[in-house]
């Protein structure tokens, strides 16, 4: 579990981005409407939204932390707990169920050694179920990060996991 220590606001969102969001919020009549945007920006940078992220969002927009957390705890794609480098959302709605979600989840469990709701030991993947992804013609499907994959076979999954793993490692090299 990558329980990243949050010491400064900078870890959550780079200063220029904070300033950009603050400037945009000053321009609009209803800063609340940017809450989801700011939460998503923090999550893009930090991976998930800790309490400090809720406070930062409130500070940027001039709203209360409670108003932010009401949203952060409602939306299932805002992570309020640590997740792996990449989140795998496996669709378990009816079209995917009818075409074999169970096999897909079982294979992912075996490959990653985790149950849904858990993160792999190397901190790379968190496995979560999701409702319909809107790719019902390509069922069964899953989404990793913001990329959707389907129709899936068990063989596809091994290749996709490998590819996503390489992608994450490459991104890490560019970052550092």
């Amino acid at each position: 579990m990558p329980a990243t220590e949050v010491n400064t606001m900078h870890d959550l969102l780079p200063k220029p981005e904070v300033e950009k969001l603050r400037a945009k919020a000053a321009e609009i009549d209803h800063p609340h409407e940017m809450i989801v945007d700011v939460l998503r920006a923090i999550q893009d940078h930090h991976g998930w939204v800790p309490d400090e992220g809720v406070q930062l969002t409130a500070a940027i927009l001039g709203v209360t932390p409670v108003e932010v957390d009401e949203l952060a705890t409602f939306y299932d794609k805002i992570y309020r707990r640590p997740v792996g480098r990449k989140v795998i959302h496996v669709c378990d709605s009816v079209c995917c169920w009818a075409t074999g979600t169970d096999k897909i989840v079982e294979h992912l469990r075996q490959q990653l050694g985790i149950d849904p709701g858990q993160t792999s030991a190397d901190g790379m993947f968190t496995l979560l179920p999701t409702c319909c992804l809107g790719v019902c013609g390509d069922a069964p499907a899953m989404m990793i990060g913001l990329t959707t994959y389907g129709p899936l076979t068990v063989e596809d999954i091994d290749r996709i996991l490998e590819q996503e793993r390489r992608g994450a490692t490459a991104a890490e090299k560019i970052d550092s």
Binding site: H32, E70, Y75, S93, A98, T99, C132, C136, L146
Partner: protein, 423 residues
């Protein structure tokens, strides 16, 4: 497969998106020029006379909805596109946006002019990141070309259009929850009345339509009502409809077909029948919140009114098929779990009642059910129907009602046998 006219998909090339240049080449933004020559009231009247019905699931006549809008009211008024497509079995709006996004943008500009709404939002669900990139580009192109922004094509009318990227949850597809979500508050649905046309986004008059509904508007303006009405059969819902096929069909693709085509033609010609040479048993005709149809319904017209006559609904026309080996109780277990998980928790019948329904369905499916459980299931169905705060639990009751009406014997088989007969 017949050679039906293609309107929304006429520029569709799988894997590619047609942007401004290609869109203009095929008549794009001509509808807007025509609209701007008329008065706003005339545009609404025109859309009303076309007979276009909302494509988001309810099938309410679009022009009639627009005619309720307080066009002359001073101050902020909003136009909102519901792109939260999260109904299981539904993926038409995604394909529409990915194929030809300017139809949506032009349709919204025309609607904004008709309703004199200076600000619009396109609300897109989290999983549609590909669509959001495409829509953002289309908005920028339309702005650069003078179709969006200040003094559109010299008409004096101004309209700004924003894109909102959401963060999940099915309830956002309910229009009042969507508006609350757009405002940046916890997205519970709101009581109606007041309807959004009176008090919507930020308490101001707001009109909400689905992606596919807006996309029809430019074509109606450009080609006229007579053309539009000839696209489909004699029933009172003209135009084409995007049918997204899924489940056990051989071909699970999205087709643009005339409204009123029979279920048989959808299943046989477009779905290519059922995988593995199996027989068609049942389908959800328009998403998870529509009542099942069976092989007895193959001659029913896939249209709003004919489907209501057989106690079902067209919904989103996302048709999910099930083969003869499928346990319909198991399907209902899955579908109801979806609604349990996506309930916002605001009202008791939905939050508690749907849980109880899942408990009963899963107990019977596991072979531990009794006749009393079946009676209780009927009770739950009766007591949840019509008693929830918004349409979510109502949607959950649709397939449950059909399960009890069409497949009660299958449920009894589970109880008698003490296990699922389909395993």
């Amino acid at each position: 497969m017949s050679d039906y006219p293609q309107v929304l998909f006429k520029n569709r090339i799988p894997g590619q998106t047609v942007f401004l240049k290609g869109y203009e080449k095929t008549g794009g933004y001509e509808g807007l020029r025509i609209a701007l020559r008329d008065t706003p009231q005339e545009v609404t009247e025109h859309v009303k006379n076309s007979g276009l019905r909302g494509r988001g699931g309810a099938g309410f006549p679009t022009g009639v909805k627009w005619s309720f809008f307080p066009v002359d009211e001073k101050g902020e008024k909003y136009l909102v596109c519901n792109g939260d497509e999260m109904e299981p079995g539904t993926y038409k709006d995604r394909l529409l946006i990915l194929a030809d996004p300017h139809q949506l943008v032009e349709g919204m500009i025309i609607a904004a002019y008709a309703l004199q709404a200076p600000v619009g939002y396109i609300f897109l669900r989290y999983a549609y990141e590909d669509c959001s990139r495409v829509v953002a580009k289309a908005i920028a192109e339309a702005e650069a070309a003078g179709y969006l922004g200040r003094d559109i094509l010299g008409s004096g009318f101004s309209f700004e259009l924003h894109l909102h990227r959401s963060a999940g949850r099915y309830i956002l597809g309910e229009e009042t929850a969507l508006l609350t979500g757009l405002e940046g508050r916890r997205p519970y649905p709101r009581a109606k009345p007041p309807f959004p046309a009176q008090s919507g986004l930020f308490g101001r008059p707001t009109n909400v339509n689905n992606v596919e509904t807006f996309a029809n508007v430019p074509h109606i303006l450009r080609n006229g009502n007579a053309w539009y009405q000839e696209l489909s059969g004699p029933e009172n819902s003209p135009g084409t409809k995007l049918f997204g096929l899924s489940g056990h069909f051989k071909r699970t693709r999205c087709f643009e077909l005339p409204l009123g085509i029979t279920l048989r033609e959808v299943v046989k010609e477009y779905g290519g029948g059922i995988r593995g040479g199996k027989r068609f048993k049942a389908c959800l005709p328009g998403g998870a919140s529509t009542p099942y149809l069976t092989a007895d319904h193959l001659d029913v017209a896939m249209d709003f009114d004919p489907l209501e006559k057989v106690e079902s609904r067209l919904g989103t026309a996302g048709v999910t098929a099930f083969d003869e080996d499928t346990c319909m109780l198991a399907v209902s277990c899955n579908v109801n779990r979806f609604f349990v998980r996506e309930s916002c928790g605001w009202c008791t019948p939905c939050r508690e009642g749907l849980q109880m329904v899942s408990w009963l369905l899963e107990k019977i499916e596991a072979g531990r059910g009794t006749e009393d459980d079946l009676t209780m299931l009927h009770d739950q169905y009766r007591n949840i129907s019509g008693r929830s705060f918004c349409a979510l639990a109502e949607g959950a009751m649709a397939p449950l009602g059909a399960l009890l009406r069409l497949f009660e014997e299958e449920l009894r088989d589970h109880i008698r046998q003490g296990s699922c007969p389909f395993v």
